[in-house]
């Protein structure tokens, strides 16, 4: 699809920018990534009344062109860099009519870049309610740009905005807002001359931001640096002067065009809600109630759709096996690729549900209150108030939780949250824990009410939270950040969630996960499938031959024979050989090569451990028949007649699974969210290292 016109949406956070974007583009949108940062690049198409087609780009919400975070820096790069393929022909600046003063700062900056600009005055209804009257015509005249009053929520004024976009000028006609050149006359003149920049404000922005702008060459950046020294330019002082000048312009503008009578109604309602929701006691109770509800919902509501997805793939695999001739290629496609695909799709319900909730929390304005309440506590351990949601979500699944860390603006806080979230006991660890606990912990009550097995399981959950927080605390000192830890955050007025946005969010997140992380997961699954289904030389054939001999074929029933073949094949596969190969390494943890095989095959997903154990011990490994695996593991003996699964081994194994990064999906998502293989790699190393050390200690303490 080719667009006739590129339009960028720019505005402060919480101005209804995403709502407007959704209204303009409908479901006709695409989510990608801006290079180098982790904000979603949302683009979509919008048909204009004159028959042309506009490509709409939703830029990250920001209060100023001077970025506070890497993600915000993308706004200036897209608007200013002429070589940027996203550079718009027209900028639509969205202003919150009920909060014009602060919103206008960004407008004045964008306007001074002299790109063609249109103003969309959103939330006019809200402004009216809080007693604000805006003389739109006078406002437009003073700015020299078209101003369209809209209500993105109520879908009002959208047609007018579309026609304004189609009639917009190709050249910028807006009035100057401040005298930019007077801020650093010689420097601006020199940069304009040497780097061939026409616009003085663009030249000034280059002076401020040259160190972080990727589209400048090193020579250009160095040259700007030396010019700054020559003209003794002080970036922060210049910025302060500029901001004061801009607010003077804004105050004059508002004085002439906006009347406010002092009966701020909306504010009062919000205030009343805040009194309850950020209350010293109720605030926390309500917040933990909400967290508990989200956590329960991810568990409970996703169970059924997940089962459906799983069943569908099992059905597809069996029917394909029936329809297609048996052969290695069919096996690879049906068992390897479809199996991997099923492992991807099964995450969709959890991702959709978690993002549904997060979207509601963000949309209503509650998420900022969570940050407000939790900041002090979380800051101590190197996390952010917003880290609470991913951490609790991690009890269900790390994959959607790590995706949800995008709400954390501070880079360092976000990285630490990503790094520690997989330590929290996710639902895939549950089958392993229940299996091992049932194996070695007696099923009896202590102090009448507490079941010992249940206590151990609860202990594992609490332990995971403690270890996540401890690791976060350590990382606080290890991670270096150039960003200073600000906490200057708007507390937006409470609003009702927009259900359409919630739906959009759920759909888009699930789609982004399948398309981006899915590839890696399928690839890893296929590799593991090949490792577990093939062996070197003619080993597999010999096993088949062996079990065709009469003494097996006659004395064993079909099921037992099938299990015996599968077990021996796995033992002789490449995965089996790897299991043998790593035995010397895992011996000190109390693990034998059979457990080694399970560690390897469960790398794609932890819960595979149970299935592998079933295959190794030649039993049916369905989730419903977990008892038979348990039975076999219980009676399993080492060559010298000792039981394999002692208390020491079982706990050592649980500790290993508690810490080890045994999840290809999480690693794929961490890569997607950090855009750098160093993060998932170092996460893998530190988690596996910790797993080894803790398992070692556990084994030797209990032995």
């Amino acid at each position: 699809m080719d667009a006739d016109l590129k339009v960028a949406l720019v505005g402060n956070p919480n101005t209804g920018k995403s709502t407007l974007f959704n209204v303009l583009t409908g479901l006709n949108q695409k989510i990608g990534n801006f290079p180098g940062v982790t904000v979603d690049k949302k683009t979509g198409f919008c048909d204009l009344p004159d028959g042309r087609r506009a490509e709409i780009i939703d830029l990250p919400g920001t209060y100023s062109l001077y970025p506070k975070s890497r993600d915000e820096s993308i706004v200036f790069s897209v608007l200013a860099d002429k070589a940027n393929p996203l550079r718009p022909d027209l900028v639509v600046v969205i202003l919150d009519a009920s909060n014009l003063k602060r919103n206008l700062l960004l407008y004045t900056q964008v306007a001074d870049l002299k790109l063609p600009v249109i103003v969309a005055l959103n939330m006019m209804d809200l402004a009216k309610k809080s007693g604000i009257t805006i003389d739109v015509d006078a406002f437009a005249q003073k700015l020299g740009v078209p101003v369209v009053p809209i209500s993105a929520r109520k879908i009002e004024g959208i047609d007018q905005l579309k026609s304004a976009i189609s009639y917009a000028n190709k050249v910028a006609l807006q009035e100057d807002t401040i005298d930019v050149e007077s801020l650093a006359p010689q420097l601006i003149a020199q940069i304009s001359k040497e780097i061939d920049v026409e616009n003085p404000y663009y030249a000034l922005q280059l002076a401020h931001q040259h160190e972080t702008l990727k589209f400048l060459s090193t020579e250009q950046s160095d040259r700007i640096e030396s010019l700054e020294q020559e003209f003794s330019f002080h970036s922060q002082k210049a910025q302060a002067t500029e901001t004061i000048a801009r607010y003077n312009f804004i105050n004059d503008l508002l004085y002439d065009t906006v009347k406010k009578n002092e009966t701020a109604q909306e504010e009062d309602i919000s205030n009343k809600i805040d009194k309850v929701l950020t209350h010293r006691i109720f605030g926390f109770i309500i917040f933990f109630g909400i967290l508990l509800f989200i956590f329960q919902s991810i568990f409970a509501w996703s169970a059924y759709p997940m089962e459906l997805i799983g069943d569908f793939f099992v059905w597809a695999q069996t029917s394909l096996h029936h329809m297609l001739p048996a052969g290695p290629l069919v096996n690879l496609v049906v068992d390897g690729v479809l199996g991997g695909l099923s492992g991807v799709m099964v995450f969709i319900p959890q991702i959709a549900i978690l993002f549904g909730f997060i979207s509601i929390l963000e949309d209503t304005g509650y998420m900022s209150r969570v940050t407000f309440m939790m900041d002090r506590l979380m800051r101590k351990v190197g996390l952010n108030g917003k880290s609470v949601v991913p951490l609790i979500g991690g009890f269900a699944c790390a994959v959607p939780s790590i995706m949800s860390t995008r709400t954390i603006e501070n880079w360092k806080d976000r990285m630490i949250t990503i790094m520690v979230t997989p330590l929290v006991t996710c639902s895939a660890r549950l089958p392993i824990y229940t299996l091992l606990i049932a194996l070695v912990v007696p099923n009896r009550n202590i102090w009448w009410v507490f079941n010992l097995q249940g206590l151990v399981l609860t202990g594992m959950y609490l332990f995971s939270l403690v270890s996540a927080i401890t690791v976060a605390f350590v990382m606080k000192f290890l991670l270096k950040s150039r960003e200073r830890g600000y906490f200057i955050m708007e507390l937006p007025v409470y609003r009702m969630p927009r259900w359409k946005n919630v739906g959009h969010d759920m759909y888009n997140r699930a789609k982004a996960f399948v398309l981006q992380a899915g590839k890696v997961i399928v690839a890893v699954s296929v590799i593991l499938f090949v490792l577990a289904s093939y062996g070197p030389g003619d080993r597999f054939e010999r096993i088949e031959q062996k079990y065709k001999q009469p003494q097996y074929a006659q004395h064993m029933n079909a099921d037992d024979l099938h299990h015996a073949v599968a077990s021996e094949k796995l033992e002789n596969s490449y995965a089996g050989m790897l299991g043998h190969a790593i035995e010397p390494v895992i011996r000190p943890l109390g693990f034998d090569w059979k457990i080694g095989i399970a560690l390897i095959t469960s790398f794609a997903a932890r819960e595979v451990f149970v299935g592998t154990m079933a295959t190794i011990y030649s039993v049916d490994g369905d989730a419903e028949k977990i008892e038979s695996v348990q039975q076999k593991m219980h009676t399993a003996k080492t060559p010298d007649g000792q039981p394999v699964f002692t208390v020491a081994v079982a706990f050592s194994l649980m500790m290993f699974y508690a810490f080890a990064m045994q999840c290809a999906s999480t690693m794929a998502v961490v890569y997607r969210e950090t855009k750098n293989w160093r993060w998932p790699a170092s996460q893998f190393v530190y988690m596996t290292g910790l797993a080894y050390i803790v398992s070692f200690i556990t084994y030797h303490l209990l032995k």
Partner: protein, 71 residues
């Protein structure tokens, strides 16, 4: 008098800042010299605080608030 010393409900007018880097960010968010600030609430654990400024609610840590000197 610094902003961090105000109690809930008290109002002051911004005079100057003690930290240049912080002041740039605060001014962008509408905390300018001459602007009226009211402390609207304090977080349950005593930090951060929420203030009413330039027609909206802003939260900031006590440490950050202590860089704002009031008239």
């Amino acid at each position: 008098m610094r902003l961090s010393q105000l109690e809930v409900g008290e109002t002051g007018i911004v005079k100057e800042f003690t930290d240049l880097e912080m002041s740039v960010k605060l001014m962008e968010m509408g905390c300018l010299p001459g602007e009226q600030i009211t402390v609207s609430r304090i977080a349950p654990l005593g930090d951060p605080i929420a203030i009413h400024v330039s027609g909206y609610q802003l939260s900031l840590r006590r440490k950050e608030a202590s860089t704002i000197i009031l008239q």
